[in-house]
């Protein structure tokens, strides 16, 4: 039955992807998607240079953040862990801010990705150290929020000393959007997320053992040191690259793993990793499509919608907490 549930998702996802290609101020009839030589040049340009990259970057971001959140919840053994909530995406923002605000002409896509992933990795590493000293579920979240404030303060200082043009670029990026990803960026974004998801799936076996806690996992033969290092790098890259291209998108990372566990009624990572990737993609596409609803060319801020969609899930975890704990 679980496998059966799995195949419903790609179908739904295709629907949402189709909607993403059609949504926007320029009306493109559905049948033109199959019969593209009927499109005008302008329509073709909108479809391939704007809508397709936007839809695809939504899919990639959603999958990457959903899986990053799942990995974090498993190795922190904390249902409230998520790349946004524990300051990992703030760390990536700091990396991006350093490159964007202080960079002088040598800004390449690769340096952005590297800076974002390093920033995310640093934040995650600090949270891992902190989690060994504090036990509670909620205290880790509080630490993450405090950590986010500190990084925000550093970023604000950087902003204060930066020229106006770069501040404008940075603040637009900070609102989160799938629309700023160019087809050329996708050549980086797609393969990195693809490889990251594959590696995550290959680590399903040790992840399943880690659910019992580090000591039990070690006693079962998990090389905990190397697995934790791999997870740290993997999560940093997935969350980092997404943040670099789409801004610090909130709540997806924390909400998606819970939705996937509830939907598949399982804790097995062999199913949860592709499951979280699919659910993450769909939620991201759904939110992205909603931002276009005003229809007159205006786009609502993505993170505002994410907060409205994601907050109920977090409240539900806080009050019921049924998918990880009991």
């Amino acid at each position: 039955m679980m496998r059966h549930r799995f195949w419903v998702l790609p179908v739904l996802g295709m629907g949402l992807f189709g909607w993403a290609l059609l949504a926007g101020s320029e009306v493109i009839p559905v049948q033109y998607l199959w019969n593209q030589n009927q499109l005008t040049d302008q329509q073709r340009a909108i479809l391939w240079a704007i809508r397709f990259p936007r839809a695809l970057s939504g899919v990639l971001s959603g999958a990457a953040l959903g899986v990053a959140g799942l990995l974090m919840q498993t190795y922190f053994r904390n249902p409230l862990a998520g790349p946004f909530e524990l300051g990992v995406q703030s760390g990536a923002s700091l990396g991006v801010a350093v490159v964007l605000l202080t960079g002088t002409g040598i800004i390449s896509t690769f340096s952005h990705i590297l800076a974002g992933s390093l920033g995310a990795g640093l934040a995650l590493f600090l949270m891992l150290l902190a989690s060994r000293r504090t036990g509670g579920t909620a205290s880790l979240l509080i630490l993450g929020v405090l950590f986010g404030y500190v990084i925000g303060a550093v970023v604000n200082l950087l902003v204060f000393f930066s020229p106006a043009d770069q501040i404008r670029l940075f603040s637009i990026w900070g609102m989160g959007s799938f629309g700023g990803v160019s087809p050329a960026d996708l050549l980086w974004f797609g393969p990195i997320v693809g490889v990251g998801l594959l590696v995550a799936w290959l680590m399903a076996k040790p992840l399943n053992a880690l659910m019992l806690g580090v000591t039990y996992a070690q006693s079962l033969g998990v090389g905990v040191g190397s697995v934790q290092t791999s997870l740290l790098i993997l999560t940093s890259v997935l969350a980092g690259v997404t943040t670099v291209f789409c801004g610090p998108i909130a709540f997806l990372g924390i909400a998606v793993p819970h939705i996937a566990r509830l939907y598949f009624q399982t804790a097995d990572h062999r199913l949860l990793i592709p499951g979280a990737a699919l659910w993450g993609s769909m939620l991201a596409l759904f939110a992205s499509n909603l931002t276009l609803l005003p229809g007159n060319g205006q786009i609502m801020p993505l993170n505002a919608l994410m907060a409205l969609l994601g907050l109920p899930v977090i409240l539900w975890i806080l009050f019921k907490r049924t998918t990880l704990t009991s």
Partner: protein, 242 residues
């Protein structure tokens, strides 16, 4: 099966126990007893190869533990702890199946032989009725029963258990000691258990390792244990009860 030579254990320069020359043999059920805080859990985790010894040597089957891979270790020794397991959507059977971790391939796919080990462990520990339920629906005692089944499914010659009876009700505690006794006698496993259930330990232990409040570990047979006043000094409360 497991031996130490001048082993010293503890955390960060704080020595808890030292000069330990211990031997755990096949077919034995050894009970490690002592008041809280003297280092029972630390000793157990050190013997399990999870904490580095401060000094001295630890051998499994005459081989230094340091030279074994994590997979080899997990095929030789299984561990039962009191750590709470929180994995809501795991079923009982999936939890027991994690015991086969050191034997399965990269994807964790179970062979027919693995399935048999799992089924056997579930039946042996009387966990059939909770095998298909989700962990979030089970009590602490029922989860502990599954963790014991998981250790059994690991099919190791040595089992170390840190207060495995902690969450169990009295019939559960007694049953666990009976099983451990049986596994030691019929399957020639070497089993080391820390426990505060002295009455059960007296009925089933082959030997006692008693740690007193001054941090001295004494190796005693059940006969010596009954005779010796040493444990009554360690547990004065016991005298008041009996």
């Amino acid at each position: 099966m497991l031996s130490t030579e001048n082993l010293a254990i503890g955390h960060r320069k704080k020595v808890l126990l030292e000069q330990l020359n211990l031997r755990l043999e096949a077919g034995e059920l050894v009970c490690l007893i002592g008041p809280n805080g003297v280092g029972k859990s630390t000793l157990l985790k050190t013997l399990a190869g999870l904490l580095p010894p401060l000094s001295g040597h630890l051998m499994w089957n005459q081989v230094p533990v340091r030279s074994l891979s994590s997979q080899q270790r997990a095929q030789y020794l299984a561990l039962i702890l009191t750590d709470r397991v929180e994995a809501g959507f795991l079923t009982g059977r999936e939890l027991v199946a994690l015991g086969r971790y050191p034997f399965t391939g990269w994807s964790g796919q179970l062979t027919y032989e693995d399935q048999c080990c799992i089924e056997e462990a579930i039946q042996e520990t009387g966990a059939t009725h909770i095998a298909e339920r989700l962990l979030m629906e089970l009590s602490d005692g029922e989860r502990q029963r599954l963790m014991i089944a998981r250790a059994l499914a690991q099919k190791t010659p040595v089992i170390l258990a840190d207060e495995p009876t902690a969450f169990l009700d009295f019939p559960g505690k007694a049953a666990l000691f009976r099983w451990m006794y049986k596994w030691a006698k019929t399957e020639k496993k070497a089993i080391l258990v820390t426990t505060h259930d002295l009455h059960l330990a007296f009925s089933f232990a082959s030997r006692f390792w008693l740690i007193d409040r001054s941090g001295i570990l004494t190796d005693l047979s059940p006969h010596d244990m009954v005779q010796a006043e040493v444990w009554k000094d360690t547990f004065p409360e016991w005298n008041m009860l009996h």
